[in-house]
Each structure stands twice: as structure tokens, then as C-alpha cells.
């Protein structure tokens, strides 16, 4: 079923809306959540909560990309769950991707120093806009969708080494970009 048809079902408040959403994007959302929380049961709960959040927000929201919309909600809920759980169990996959990214702004400043996150997001958006599509997709799959390098290589039909090298170069460029824009 097309995304617009699923969104129309939400607008009609049809019970089929969630079933269709789950049918089309359930697997994607579960795998995204699992990569963050690292636990199948937690992931399942996060995805169910995400469906409920989609139900509660459409309408009035009418997302242009249903996949990005439901993934964003799933990601946020999964991060929330992960932060709640992380005192007991840490998920290596998510931590590794965050460690890599954090190196871009690790500059020895006081830990209390806080950047304006909205401005930082805008700066990262500008940076992403300057990348070529393949490097941008790699970056987003790694640091937003938390994919393993192997999976990114498979998604983009590239070698693992290619993905590693390109991600490294992109992080280096991000650091330069953030420095140029005054964040470092």
C-alpha cells in the first residue's frame, strides 16, 4: 500500500491504519530500535509505542515521508528507553557509532559547556547538504539509523573498507566544518 493511502487511513481513523503501517514499516522500525536498545522485547515495545504516537499525531500531522516520520519517532522512543536502561546494560553498536561521531566535537572543553543544539543541527544539515549522495547516505545510515558497517556496505553495494574509509573522511570533514562555523 502506498504511503499516502496509509496516511489517509490515519486521517479516517481507520483501525487498518496501524496494521498497514506495521505491515510496511514494522520490520524496518524493529530493526532500527533493536540496533539502539539491543533487546528484542524493548524494541518491540518501542515500536508499538511508536505506532501509538503516529496514531496520536496523524492528524493533524501529514508527513511528506511516512517512513522517515515513523522511524524518527521510533528512534526517539528507543533512545529514551536506551538511556533509561543504560545504567544496567550498554549497547555496543549504538555506543560505537556515537563514540565515532563524538570525536568530531571532542575538544577538551568543560563537560558543562553546552552548544545550542538547534544551531548545531542546522549546521550538520548544511554539512549534509554539501556531501555527495553516497557519502551522505552512509553518514545517515551509520549515525542516524545506527547501521553496522557491514549492512551499509551491503545496502550501497560497496566494500566494508570503502565504507570505513569514506565515513572516516566524512567525520574529518564534519570536524573541519564545525570548526569553520565556530562550534569548536
Amino acid at each position: 500500500m502506498e504511503d499516502q493511502q496509509i496516511i489517509a487511513l490515519f486521517f479516517e481513523r481507520s483501525q487498518r491504519a496501524v496494521a498497514e503501517l506495521s505491515e510496511k514499516y514494522g520490520k524496518l522500525c524493529r530493526s532500527l530500535s533493536l540496533r539502539i536498545v539491543g533487546d528484542e522485547q524493548d524494541a518491540e515495545e518501542c515500536v508499538n509505542d511508536a505506532y501509538l504516537a503516529v496514531w496520536d499525531t496523524i492528524p493533524p500531522q501529514n508527513p511528506s515521508s511516512l517512513s522517515a516520520y515513523v522511524c524518527k519517532i521510533t528512534r526517539n522512543l528507543s533512545l529514551k528507553r536506551y538511556r533509561h536502561n543504560s545504567a544496567q546494560k550498554r549497547n555496543d553498536l549504538y555506543e560505537r557509532s556515537l563514540d565515532e561521531l563524538s570525536e568530531c566535537i571532542a575538544d577538551g572543553r568543560d563537560v558543562e559547556y553546552r552548544l545550542d543544539e538547534k544551531e548545531l543541527t542546522a549546521s550538520i544539515d548544511r554539512f549534509l547538504g554539501m556531501l555527495n549522495p553516497v557519502d551522505r547516505v552512509m553518514f545517515v545510515q551509520r549515525y542516524w539509523l545506527c547501521c553496522e558497517i557491514t549492512d551499509i556496505a551491503s545496502n550501497l553495494k560497496k566494500s566494508k573498507n570503502y565504507v570505513n574509509v569514506h565515513l572516516y573522511r566524512t567525520r574529518t570533514r564534519l570536524k573541519e566544518h564545525l570548526s569553520k562555523e565556530g562550534y569548536l
Binding site: I105, T121, I124
Partner: protein
Amino acid sequence: MRENIENAIANIDEKYITEALDRMDIKPAQHKARRIVLKTAAIAAAVLIIFFGSLTVAVGAGSLPAYKLMRSIDPAVAEKLTPVNESCVDNGICMTVEGINVDGGSAEICVSLTDLEGDRIDETTDLFDSYSIRSTAEGAYGCAFLDFDQETKTATYMIYIDQDTPINGDKLNFSVSQLLTGKKDGHYRLSEIGSDIPTVQPTKTAGTVNTRGSSLGEKYSDWDWDEWDWYEKEVKLLDPDPEQSFSPTDGVIITAWGWVDGHLHVQALYDDIFHLDNHGYVYFESDETLNPDFDISFWDEEQVNSYEEYVFEDIMPQDLESGSFWGRFVTTPPDGHICGDWHVSCVIK
């Protein structure tokens, strides 16, 4: 600081998320596998033999048409199937799950398609890798065409699923969302590529285009992908030449050919590959068949059509007099891409 970047990255523009999601492969390697199968028919046959030959456990089945059909192909496979006979109609096409067998993480599902309104289903109809079971596990998927019944306009397939973890629950939800039909599979002589082939100086390399992948011939078969990756980036790629372009069949255009640094390149453009799955390969036929040493595929600017550049490193100019270029192309007409929402729940016994 770590939290800063974590929160900032969480809110990046949705268009970048959508772009990345569009390149996520839920069932990895399906398209690549298809391409390899096309090039090596022997492997395709072996897969079917392994597939049919590996089924051993017997489960009683009813008198379903698919069961009869399966019996005629391999009685052991037929005996394993549990009858389901559940149907779903959408877009005037009826999908019936005839029978299933689930064993741990493996499943075989016998499915038939019947056009209730016309003649869209034929012996070329393909499920286009759009079938799925509801599962979070990753696994290998395959689909074998079994039969087309002209009288009932019914095509029958066997789908096999092999995933790492057991298929859980007492129900299996099976769905199909796209079909390709009216496909043509043929060998076409590319007589426009004569023996007077120009030497050209391309302006781009594989490192400067949006590549989709590559296929390696025997010469490169023992290279690892990292090694190939560095080599590939330097390969020069032809600029499409409107003067040379011709279409051997609908959906395929030969866009350029020429000598590049002593190697013979032939470039093809396949229309709308995501919807029509147009694909193929080029080869040189003389006393023997000479396949390309490698080919590199890359997107056009809109990322809708795909170029494929075939490189023959060992053909010499004098060889061209004694043979000719051919292409094997599998194409689908634009109206052959049918979307629908066919889904059936099967009880697993």
C-alpha cells in the same frame, strides 16, 4: 558534548533520513543475486536442484492443484506441504497460498497467481522480490517459478525462506506487493557495433559517478572486494554518445562504445530498473563466447535508469573481424509493473 551531538543528529532534516532509508536493503543481495543467476544459468539450475533435492520430511497434503503440480515435479516436496488454500484478491489478481511447510527457520510456501480480469499473468510473471513474511529476522529468500496454466491463467511458484532464527508463532503472514509481467528475455545481435571502433577519451571514472555495483569475470574472481574497490575507482567510463546510441529492444539503449586505454568498452542504459528490473549483459561471439572481464553499473542523474559498462580487456582490434557483439536482455514493458496488496495469514501446524 556527547549529548549535544547525540541530540543534534537526532533532529537532522527528514529529507536526509528519507534518502538514507531509500537505500536500505531490507532483503540484502536479492538484486545482485538475480544478476549473477542471469549470467550463470548453470548456477540457477544448481540452486533449483539443491532446493528441490534438500526436502525430505513428509507431511500429508490434500488434492490441491499446486500439490498435483508439485507431485509431478518432485513427490517429496509435495508430500511436505500442508494445504492452506487461503486467497487474497487485489487489483483484480487473486493470490492463493496453496500450501506451506515450516521447519525451524526454514519455510517453503507454494503460491499461485490468477488474473481475474484479464491476461496480465503469464509464464513470465515474476514476484519481483516483493514477497515477505512478517519477521524481524534477516534471512535468505528465493523464488522458483513452477508452472503456468494457460487455461486458468494461473502461475504457480515456490518461495523458500531460510532465516537464522525459528519462524515463531502459530501463524505465518505472507504478503506480495509487486508483480512484473510481460517480460521479454532474448539475445540480440548488436550489429551497429562493427569492427571500426573509435578510440575515445572519457571524462569520468567510476570514482566520480554514483556506482551501483560491479560484476567480475574469471580474471578477477580471486580479487577481494577491497582490492577491487581501489582498482574500480580508476576505471574510465564512456560518455554516452547520441551519435552511436541505438536500442536493441525496448527498455535498453546501447549508449556508447569505444577503445579506452586499449580496452574495449560497451555501455548500455537500462530503463527504470527499480520498477521494471530491466537487466542483461553484452558478450562477443566468434569461435567461442567471450564475456566481459568486468562490468560496472552506475546511476543516471535521476537515479532511475542504470548504466552498465562492459569492459573486454583481451579483445584485440583484429578479433573484431571474426565475430560480433550480442546482448542478452531481460526487459519488462512499462505497463508490466503491477502493484497490489496481497496478504494471507497461514496457520502453522
